[in-house]
Protein backbone atom coordinates (compact mmCIF):
# COMPACT_ATOMS: atom_id res chain seq x y z
CA UNK A 1 0.00 0.00 0.00
CA UNK A 2 2.74 2.41 1.00
CA UNK A 3 4.56 1.76 -2.21
CA UNK A 4 1.73 3.12 -4.28
CA UNK A 5 2.25 6.64 -5.41
CA UNK A 6 -0.37 9.19 -4.48
CA UNK A 7 -2.14 10.85 -7.34
CA UNK A 8 -1.32 14.32 -6.09
CA UNK A 9 2.31 15.29 -6.15
CA UNK A 10 1.77 18.25 -3.83
CA UNK A 11 1.43 16.13 -0.61
CA UNK A 12 4.04 16.90 1.94
CA UNK A 13 6.23 14.19 3.48
CA UNK A 14 4.62 14.90 6.87
CA UNK A 15 1.16 14.19 5.42
CA UNK A 16 2.23 10.83 4.06
CA UNK A 17 3.90 9.85 7.35
CA UNK A 18 0.70 10.66 9.27
CA UNK A 19 -1.45 8.58 7.01
CA UNK A 20 1.01 5.70 7.19
CA UNK A 21 1.01 5.83 11.00
CA UNK A 22 -2.78 5.88 11.13
CA UNK A 23 -2.95 2.84 8.88
CA UNK A 24 -0.36 1.07 11.00
CA UNK A 25 -2.28 1.88 14.19
CA UNK A 26 -5.44 0.52 12.64
CA UNK A 27 -3.64 -2.64 11.60
CA UNK A 28 -2.15 -3.11 15.06
CA UNK A 29 -5.59 -2.76 16.66
CA UNK A 30 -6.98 -5.30 14.21
CA UNK A 31 -4.17 -7.69 15.04
CA UNK A 32 -4.81 -7.29 18.77
CA UNK A 33 -8.49 -8.08 18.26
CA UNK A 34 -7.63 -11.13 16.22
CA UNK A 35 -5.18 -12.37 18.86
CA UNK A 36 -7.82 -11.85 21.54
CA UNK A 37 -10.49 -13.81 19.64
CA UNK A 38 -8.08 -16.60 18.77
CA UNK A 39 -6.90 -16.84 22.39
CA UNK A 40 -10.48 -16.97 23.64
CA UNK A 41 -11.34 -19.82 21.26
CA UNK A 42 -8.14 -21.69 22.10
CA UNK A 43 -8.84 -21.23 25.82
CA UNK A 44 -12.34 -22.71 25.42
CA UNK A 45 -10.88 -25.77 23.68
CA UNK A 46 -8.07 -26.27 26.20
CA UNK A 47 -10.36 -25.78 29.22
CA UNK A 48 -12.85 -28.29 27.78
CA UNK A 49 -10.11 -30.90 27.33
CA UNK A 50 -8.78 -30.34 30.84
CA UNK A 51 -12.27 -30.54 32.34
CA UNK A 52 -12.81 -33.84 30.48
CA UNK A 53 -9.56 -35.30 31.78
CA UNK A 54 -10.23 -34.19 35.37
CA UNK A 55 -13.79 -35.59 35.31
CA UNK A 56 -12.54 -38.81 33.71
CA UNK A 57 -9.83 -39.32 36.32
CA UNK A 58 -12.37 -38.67 39.10
CA UNK A 59 -14.80 -41.18 37.66
CA UNK A 60 -12.01 -43.67 36.99
CA UNK A 61 -10.98 -43.63 40.64
CA UNK A 62 -14.61 -44.26 41.58
CA UNK A 63 -14.68 -47.38 39.38
CA UNK A 64 -11.43 -48.59 40.92
CA UNK A 65 -13.31 -48.84 44.23
CA UNK A 66 -16.61 -50.69 44.16
CA UNK A 67 -16.92 -54.18 45.65
CA UNK A 68 -15.62 -57.32 43.99
CA UNK A 69 -17.83 -60.43 44.28
CA UNK A 70 -15.98 -63.10 46.28
CA UNK A 71 -16.74 -65.54 43.45
CA UNK A 72 -14.52 -63.54 41.05
CA UNK A 73 -10.94 -64.57 40.34
CA UNK A 74 -9.72 -61.04 41.12
CA UNK A 75 -10.71 -57.35 41.31
CA UNK A 76 -11.07 -57.25 37.51
CA UNK A 77 -11.34 -61.00 36.93
CA UNK A 78 -14.22 -63.11 35.68
CA UNK A 79 -16.19 -65.64 37.69
CA UNK A 80 -15.60 -69.39 37.47
CA UNK A 81 -19.08 -70.66 36.64
CA UNK A 82 -18.37 -74.36 36.15
CA UNK A 83 -15.62 -76.95 36.02
CA UNK A 84 -12.98 -78.45 38.27
CA UNK A 85 -10.38 -76.06 39.67
CA UNK A 86 -7.56 -78.22 38.24
CA UNK A 87 -9.09 -78.70 34.79
CA UNK A 88 -6.34 -78.57 32.12
CA UNK A 89 -8.19 -76.06 29.92
CA UNK A 90 -9.40 -72.67 31.12
CA UNK A 91 -12.09 -71.31 28.82
CA UNK A 92 -12.48 -67.54 29.22
CA UNK A 93 -15.84 -66.50 27.82
CA UNK A 94 -16.64 -62.80 27.23
CA UNK A 95 -20.33 -62.28 26.63
CA UNK A 96 -23.00 -59.62 26.85
CA UNK A 97 -26.48 -60.67 27.98
CA UNK A 98 -27.97 -58.38 25.32
CA UNK A 99 -25.83 -59.79 22.48
CA UNK A 100 -27.76 -62.00 20.01
CA UNK A 101 -24.60 -63.66 18.66
CA UNK A 102 -23.75 -64.70 22.22
CA UNK A 103 -27.14 -66.37 22.42
CA UNK A 104 -26.39 -68.14 19.14
CA UNK A 105 -22.99 -69.21 20.45
CA UNK A 106 -24.55 -70.62 23.63
CA UNK A 107 -27.08 -72.49 21.49
CA UNK A 108 -24.49 -74.04 19.17
CA UNK A 109 -21.56 -74.57 21.52
CA UNK A 110 -23.25 -74.87 24.93
CA UNK A 111 -23.52 -78.64 24.87
CA UNK A 112 -19.91 -79.12 23.69
CA UNK A 113 -18.66 -76.92 26.52
CA UNK A 114 -20.87 -78.67 29.07
CA UNK A 115 -19.55 -82.10 27.99
CA UNK A 116 -15.96 -80.88 28.35
CA UNK A 117 -16.80 -79.49 31.79
CA UNK A 118 -18.41 -82.79 32.83
CA UNK A 119 -15.35 -84.69 31.57
CA UNK A 120 -13.17 -82.52 33.79
CA UNK A 121 -11.35 -81.01 30.80
CA UNK A 122 -12.66 -77.44 30.95
CA UNK A 123 -13.08 -74.77 33.59
CA UNK A 124 -15.33 -71.94 32.33
CA UNK A 125 -14.62 -68.38 33.44
CA UNK A 126 -17.39 -65.95 32.53
CA UNK A 127 -16.72 -62.22 31.95
CA UNK A 128 -19.90 -60.13 31.48
CA UNK A 129 -19.49 -57.18 29.09
CA UNK A 130 -21.85 -54.25 28.71
CA UNK A 131 -21.67 -52.52 25.35
CA UNK A 132 -24.53 -54.01 23.31
CA UNK A 133 -27.45 -52.34 25.08
CA UNK A 134 -25.37 -49.23 25.75
CA UNK A 135 -25.12 -48.62 22.03
CA UNK A 136 -28.92 -48.51 22.05
CA UNK A 137 -29.13 -46.20 25.03
CA UNK A 138 -30.03 -48.78 27.66
CA UNK A 139 -28.06 -49.91 30.71
CA UNK A 140 -29.60 -53.41 30.52
CA UNK A 141 -26.23 -55.05 29.82
CA UNK A 142 -24.62 -53.38 32.82
CA UNK A 143 -27.56 -54.19 35.12
CA UNK A 144 -27.66 -57.83 34.08
CA UNK A 145 -23.86 -58.07 34.45
CA UNK A 146 -24.19 -56.90 38.04
CA UNK A 147 -27.07 -59.30 38.64
CA UNK A 148 -24.93 -62.09 37.20
CA UNK A 149 -22.43 -61.47 40.01
CA UNK A 150 -25.31 -61.61 42.53
CA UNK A 151 -26.44 -64.96 41.09
CA UNK A 152 -22.87 -66.26 41.26
CA UNK A 153 -22.71 -65.19 44.92
CA UNK A 154 -25.94 -67.15 45.41
CA UNK A 155 -24.22 -70.15 43.82
CA UNK A 156 -26.31 -70.28 40.64
CA UNK A 157 -24.32 -68.59 37.83
CA UNK A 158 -25.14 -71.22 35.18
CA UNK A 159 -28.89 -71.09 35.77
CA UNK A 160 -28.68 -67.32 35.54
CA UNK A 161 -26.75 -67.37 32.24
CA UNK A 162 -29.13 -69.90 30.68
CA UNK A 163 -32.22 -67.97 31.78
CA UNK A 164 -30.87 -64.65 30.55
CA UNK A 165 -30.02 -65.94 27.08
CA UNK A 166 -33.33 -67.83 26.79
CA UNK A 167 -35.37 -64.71 27.62
CA UNK A 168 -33.08 -62.27 25.75
CA UNK A 169 -34.98 -59.20 24.51
CA UNK A 170 -34.77 -58.28 20.83
CA UNK A 171 -32.20 -55.69 19.83
CA UNK A 172 -33.48 -52.44 18.41
CA UNK A 173 -34.37 -49.84 20.97
CA UNK A 174 -33.87 -49.05 24.63
CA UNK A 175 -37.55 -49.73 25.38
CA UNK A 176 -37.10 -53.41 24.46
CA UNK A 177 -35.08 -53.97 27.61
CA UNK A 178 -37.02 -54.83 30.78
CA UNK A 179 -36.32 -53.35 34.24
CA UNK A 180 -34.17 -55.27 36.70
CA UNK A 181 -37.21 -56.29 38.79
CA UNK A 182 -38.64 -58.23 35.83
CA UNK A 183 -35.31 -59.95 35.23
CA UNK A 184 -35.05 -60.84 38.93
CA UNK A 185 -38.49 -62.45 39.10
CA UNK A 186 -37.85 -64.48 35.94
CA UNK A 187 -34.49 -65.66 37.24
CA UNK A 188 -36.05 -66.54 40.58
CA UNK A 189 -38.71 -68.61 38.79
CA UNK A 190 -35.86 -70.46 37.09
CA UNK A 191 -34.59 -71.46 40.51
CA UNK A 192 -31.99 -68.85 41.41
CA UNK A 193 -32.79 -68.04 45.01
CA UNK A 194 -30.79 -67.30 48.12
CA UNK A 195 -31.86 -64.81 50.78
CA UNK A 196 -29.97 -61.81 49.43
CA UNK A 197 -30.18 -62.39 45.65
CA UNK A 198 -33.06 -59.97 44.99
CA UNK A 199 -31.73 -57.17 47.19
CA UNK A 200 -28.26 -57.62 45.69
CA UNK A 201 -29.71 -57.42 42.17
CA UNK A 202 -31.63 -54.23 42.95
CA UNK A 203 -28.80 -52.40 44.71
CA UNK A 204 -26.08 -53.08 42.10
CA UNK A 205 -23.17 -53.43 44.54
CA UNK A 206 -20.81 -54.75 41.87
CA UNK A 207 -21.03 -51.89 39.36
CA UNK A 208 -17.35 -51.04 39.95
CA UNK A 209 -16.36 -54.65 39.32
CA UNK A 210 -18.40 -54.73 36.08
CA UNK A 211 -16.54 -51.61 34.89
CA UNK A 212 -13.18 -53.16 35.76
CA UNK A 213 -14.04 -56.41 33.96
CA UNK A 214 -14.83 -54.37 30.84
CA UNK A 215 -11.59 -52.42 31.19
CA UNK A 216 -9.56 -55.62 31.60
CA UNK A 217 -11.25 -57.17 28.56
CA UNK A 218 -10.44 -54.08 26.50
CA UNK A 219 -6.78 -54.30 27.54
CA UNK A 220 -6.76 -57.95 26.52
CA UNK A 221 -7.89 -56.97 23.03
CA UNK A 222 -11.50 -58.07 23.35
CA UNK A 223 -13.38 -55.89 20.86
CA UNK A 224 -16.50 -57.96 20.40
CA UNK A 225 -18.74 -60.54 21.96
CA UNK A 226 -18.67 -63.44 22.23
CA UNK A 227 -14.91 -63.76 22.60
CA UNK A 228 -13.34 -67.04 23.71
CA UNK A 229 -9.86 -67.71 25.03
CA UNK A 230 -8.61 -71.27 25.54
CA UNK A 231 -5.70 -71.25 28.00
CA UNK A 232 -5.09 -67.62 27.02
CA UNK A 233 -5.21 -68.24 23.24
CA UNK A 234 -7.95 -66.45 21.33
CA UNK A 235 -10.30 -68.90 19.63
CA UNK A 236 -11.90 -67.93 16.31
CA UNK A 237 -15.63 -68.19 16.98
CA UNK A 238 -16.70 -67.42 13.40
CA UNK A 239 -17.15 -71.07 12.28
CA UNK A 240 -19.33 -71.68 15.35
CA UNK A 241 -21.64 -68.68 15.18
CA UNK A 242 -22.04 -68.32 11.43
CA UNK A 243 -25.23 -69.43 9.72
CA UNK A 244 -25.33 -73.22 9.95
CA UNK A 245 -22.18 -73.23 12.09
CA UNK A 246 -21.08 -76.18 14.18
CA UNK A 247 -19.16 -76.64 17.42
CA UNK A 248 -16.64 -78.95 15.71
CA UNK A 249 -13.78 -76.42 15.64
CA UNK A 250 -14.35 -75.55 19.30
CA UNK A 251 -14.26 -79.21 20.31
CA UNK A 252 -11.05 -79.72 18.34
CA UNK A 253 -9.46 -76.62 19.89
CA UNK A 254 -10.40 -77.73 23.42
CA UNK A 255 -8.92 -81.19 22.77
CA UNK A 256 -5.76 -79.63 21.34
CA UNK A 257 -5.40 -77.30 24.35
CA UNK A 258 -5.92 -80.23 26.73
CA UNK A 259 -3.39 -82.32 24.78
CA UNK A 260 -0.81 -79.54 24.91
CA UNK A 261 -1.14 -79.42 28.69
CA UNK A 262 -0.30 -83.10 29.16
Amino acid sequence: MASKTTPKGTKTAQDRRDRLEAAQRQQAAARRKRTLVLSAAAAVVVVAAVVGIVLGVTQGSKASKGGTPTAATGPSGGIVVAGKADAPVTLDLYEDFACPVCKAFEGTAGQTIQQAIDAGTVKEVFHPLTFVSENQGSDYSARTANTFACAAQAGEPVKYINTLFTRQPAEGSASNYPPTSTVVSEVQQAGVSGPSFASCAMSAPYAGWVTRVGEEASKRGVTGTPTVFLNGQKFDIAPVVMQGGSPATLKAAIDAAAGAKK
Partner: protein, 202 residues
Protein backbone atom coordinates in the same frame (compact mmCIF):
# COMPACT_ATOMS: atom_id res chain seq x y z
CA UNK B 1 -2.86 -19.48 -32.80
CA UNK B 2 -3.30 -16.92 -30.07
CA UNK B 3 -7.05 -17.38 -29.89
CA UNK B 4 -6.80 -21.18 -29.64
CA UNK B 5 -4.36 -20.85 -26.73
CA UNK B 6 -6.80 -18.69 -24.76
CA UNK B 7 -9.60 -21.15 -25.48
CA UNK B 8 -7.51 -23.94 -23.99
CA UNK B 9 -6.98 -21.87 -20.86
CA UNK B 10 -10.71 -21.40 -20.43
CA UNK B 11 -11.69 -24.98 -21.18
CA UNK B 12 -10.87 -26.56 -17.78
CA UNK B 13 -13.14 -24.11 -15.96
CA UNK B 14 -15.99 -24.88 -18.30
CA UNK B 15 -15.36 -28.58 -17.81
CA UNK B 16 -15.72 -28.23 -14.05
CA UNK B 17 -19.42 -27.49 -14.40
CA UNK B 18 -20.49 -29.66 -17.32
CA UNK B 19 -24.15 -29.82 -16.30
CA UNK B 20 -24.65 -26.13 -16.89
CA UNK B 21 -22.24 -25.81 -19.81
CA UNK B 22 -23.41 -23.78 -22.74
CA UNK B 23 -25.77 -21.42 -20.96
CA UNK B 24 -24.77 -17.95 -19.89
CA UNK B 25 -25.10 -18.89 -16.19
CA UNK B 26 -22.21 -21.35 -16.39
CA UNK B 27 -19.66 -18.87 -15.06
CA UNK B 28 -17.26 -20.34 -12.52
CA UNK B 29 -17.87 -18.99 -9.01
CA UNK B 30 -15.66 -16.01 -8.30
CA UNK B 31 -15.51 -12.64 -6.67
CA UNK B 32 -16.64 -10.98 -9.89
CA UNK B 33 -20.09 -12.43 -9.34
CA UNK B 34 -22.33 -10.48 -6.98
CA UNK B 35 -24.66 -13.50 -6.60
CA UNK B 36 -21.81 -15.52 -5.13
CA UNK B 37 -21.13 -12.78 -2.57
CA UNK B 38 -24.78 -12.86 -1.60
CA UNK B 39 -25.01 -16.66 -1.35
CA UNK B 40 -21.64 -17.53 0.21
CA UNK B 41 -22.37 -16.20 3.75
CA UNK B 42 -25.52 -18.31 3.90
CA UNK B 43 -23.69 -21.39 2.65
CA UNK B 44 -21.10 -20.76 5.36
CA UNK B 45 -23.89 -20.45 7.94
CA UNK B 46 -25.27 -23.78 6.73
CA UNK B 47 -21.79 -25.29 7.03
CA UNK B 48 -21.57 -23.96 10.61
CA UNK B 49 -24.92 -25.52 11.48
CA UNK B 50 -23.90 -28.88 10.01
CA UNK B 51 -20.43 -29.05 11.59
CA UNK B 52 -21.54 -27.53 14.88
CA UNK B 53 -24.57 -29.80 15.16
CA UNK B 54 -22.63 -32.93 14.26
CA UNK B 55 -19.82 -32.23 16.72
CA UNK B 56 -22.14 -31.20 19.55
CA UNK B 57 -24.19 -34.38 19.03
CA UNK B 58 -21.15 -36.65 18.67
CA UNK B 59 -19.56 -35.20 21.79
CA UNK B 60 -22.75 -35.16 23.85
CA UNK B 61 -23.46 -38.86 23.22
CA UNK B 62 -19.98 -39.67 24.57
CA UNK B 63 -19.97 -37.40 27.63
CA UNK B 64 -20.91 -39.53 30.62
CA UNK B 65 -19.71 -42.72 28.93
CA UNK B 66 -16.01 -42.19 29.50
CA UNK B 67 -15.22 -45.88 30.07
CA UNK B 68 -16.57 -46.81 26.67
CA UNK B 69 -14.81 -43.91 24.95
CA UNK B 70 -11.53 -45.01 26.53
CA UNK B 71 -12.14 -48.55 25.26
CA UNK B 72 -13.05 -47.28 21.81
CA UNK B 73 -9.79 -45.33 21.69
CA UNK B 74 -7.86 -48.38 22.87
CA UNK B 75 -9.59 -50.65 20.36
CA UNK B 76 -7.89 -48.78 17.50
CA UNK B 77 -4.56 -50.02 18.90
CA UNK B 78 -2.79 -46.85 17.82
CA UNK B 79 -2.00 -45.02 21.05
CA UNK B 80 0.24 -46.35 23.83
CA UNK B 81 -1.71 -47.37 26.93
CA UNK B 82 -0.44 -44.31 28.86
CA UNK B 83 -2.20 -41.97 26.41
CA UNK B 84 -5.42 -43.97 25.98
CA UNK B 85 -7.07 -42.62 29.13
CA UNK B 86 -6.30 -38.88 28.76
CA UNK B 87 -7.28 -38.92 25.07
CA UNK B 88 -10.49 -40.85 25.76
CA UNK B 89 -11.40 -38.48 28.61
CA UNK B 90 -10.68 -35.33 26.62
CA UNK B 91 -12.22 -36.22 23.24
CA UNK B 92 -15.95 -35.88 24.09
CA UNK B 93 -15.43 -32.46 25.68
CA UNK B 94 -13.16 -31.38 22.84
CA UNK B 95 -15.89 -32.25 20.35
CA UNK B 96 -18.52 -30.39 22.36
CA UNK B 97 -16.26 -27.32 22.63
CA UNK B 98 -15.44 -27.26 18.92
CA UNK B 99 -19.09 -27.79 18.03
CA UNK B 100 -20.20 -24.94 20.30
CA UNK B 101 -17.52 -22.59 18.93
CA UNK B 102 -18.57 -23.34 15.35
CA UNK B 103 -22.23 -22.75 16.17
CA UNK B 104 -21.39 -19.48 17.93
CA UNK B 105 -19.09 -18.51 15.07
CA UNK B 106 -16.10 -17.49 17.17
CA UNK B 107 -12.72 -17.53 15.39
CA UNK B 108 -14.60 -19.49 12.75
CA UNK B 109 -11.73 -19.97 10.33
CA UNK B 110 -9.34 -21.41 12.89
CA UNK B 111 -11.91 -23.52 14.66
CA UNK B 112 -12.88 -24.94 11.26
CA UNK B 113 -9.21 -25.76 10.65
CA UNK B 114 -9.07 -27.54 14.04
CA UNK B 115 -12.23 -29.48 13.16
CA UNK B 116 -10.76 -30.47 9.79
CA UNK B 117 -7.53 -31.67 11.46
CA UNK B 118 -9.51 -33.73 14.00
CA UNK B 119 -11.57 -35.31 11.22
CA UNK B 120 -8.36 -36.15 9.33
CA UNK B 121 -7.04 -37.88 12.47
CA UNK B 122 -10.31 -39.83 12.78
CA UNK B 123 -10.17 -40.87 9.12
CA UNK B 124 -6.55 -41.98 9.45
CA UNK B 125 -7.46 -44.05 12.52
CA UNK B 126 -10.42 -45.70 10.78
CA UNK B 127 -8.43 -46.37 7.60
CA UNK B 128 -5.56 -47.89 9.57
CA UNK B 129 -7.96 -50.07 11.57
CA UNK B 130 -9.47 -51.25 8.31
CA UNK B 131 -6.07 -51.95 6.73
CA UNK B 132 -4.88 -53.87 9.81
CA UNK B 133 -8.04 -55.99 9.63
CA UNK B 134 -9.32 -54.91 13.05
CA UNK B 135 -12.99 -55.59 13.66
CA UNK B 136 -14.20 -52.62 15.66
CA UNK B 137 -16.94 -50.05 15.81
CA UNK B 138 -15.39 -46.64 15.14
CA UNK B 139 -17.23 -45.12 18.10
CA UNK B 140 -17.91 -42.08 15.99
CA UNK B 141 -21.37 -41.40 17.34
CA UNK B 142 -22.05 -44.24 19.68
CA UNK B 143 -19.72 -45.25 22.43
CA UNK B 144 -18.20 -47.86 20.17
CA UNK B 145 -14.99 -49.79 20.25
CA UNK B 146 -16.53 -53.19 20.62
CA UNK B 147 -18.55 -54.92 17.97
CA UNK B 148 -20.71 -58.00 18.20
CA UNK B 149 -19.16 -60.88 16.30
CA UNK B 150 -20.69 -61.13 12.82
CA UNK B 151 -21.69 -57.46 12.92
CA UNK B 152 -20.45 -55.56 9.88
CA UNK B 153 -17.69 -53.00 10.44
CA UNK B 154 -18.95 -50.09 8.24
CA UNK B 155 -15.44 -48.68 7.70
CA UNK B 156 -16.25 -47.40 4.22
CA UNK B 157 -19.47 -45.77 5.35
CA UNK B 158 -17.64 -44.11 8.26
CA UNK B 159 -14.87 -42.86 5.98
CA UNK B 160 -17.32 -41.50 3.42
CA UNK B 161 -19.24 -39.63 6.10
CA UNK B 162 -16.03 -38.20 7.58
CA UNK B 163 -14.88 -37.14 4.10
CA UNK B 164 -18.11 -35.19 3.75
CA UNK B 165 -17.54 -33.47 7.11
CA UNK B 166 -13.96 -32.73 6.07
CA UNK B 167 -15.19 -31.05 2.89
CA UNK B 168 -17.70 -28.92 4.80
CA UNK B 169 -15.07 -27.94 7.40
CA UNK B 170 -12.59 -27.00 4.66
CA UNK B 171 -15.21 -24.85 2.94
CA UNK B 172 -15.82 -23.09 6.25
CA UNK B 173 -12.09 -22.57 6.74
CA UNK B 174 -11.81 -20.97 3.30
CA UNK B 175 -15.06 -18.96 3.57
CA UNK B 176 -15.63 -18.37 7.30
CA UNK B 177 -17.67 -15.16 6.91
CA UNK B 178 -21.31 -15.82 7.76
CA UNK B 179 -24.29 -14.10 9.36
CA UNK B 180 -25.34 -14.69 12.97
CA UNK B 181 -21.78 -15.19 14.15
CA UNK B 182 -19.81 -13.83 17.09
CA UNK B 183 -17.08 -12.92 14.61
CA UNK B 184 -19.55 -10.67 12.84
CA UNK B 185 -21.03 -9.29 16.07
CA UNK B 186 -17.59 -8.40 17.44
CA UNK B 187 -16.59 -7.05 14.03
CA UNK B 188 -13.52 -9.20 14.16
CA UNK B 189 -11.24 -7.54 11.60
CA UNK B 190 -10.90 -9.08 8.23
CA UNK B 191 -7.25 -9.87 9.01
CA UNK B 192 -8.76 -12.94 10.60
CA UNK B 193 -10.10 -13.95 7.26
CA UNK B 194 -7.55 -12.94 4.65
CA UNK B 195 -10.39 -12.85 2.09
CA UNK B 196 -10.82 -9.09 1.97
CA UNK B 197 -13.53 -8.46 -0.59
CA UNK B 198 -11.25 -6.64 -3.02
CA UNK B 199 -8.48 -9.22 -3.33
CA UNK B 200 -10.85 -12.15 -3.01
CA UNK B 201 -9.55 -13.97 -6.04
CA UNK B 202 -9.81 -17.74 -6.34
Amino acid sequence: MGSSASRAAVAPQGASSPTTGGTSTAVPPGSDRPEWHAVQPWLSLLARLVIGGVFLYAGATKVGHVDQVVRAVRAFQVLPEALVHPVGYALPYLEVALGALVLLGLATRWVAVAVALLVVVYMAAIASASLRGLRIDCGCFSTGGELAANAPTHYLRDLARDALFLGVACFLAVRPRSPLSLDGLLAVPSVLYDDQPDDDED
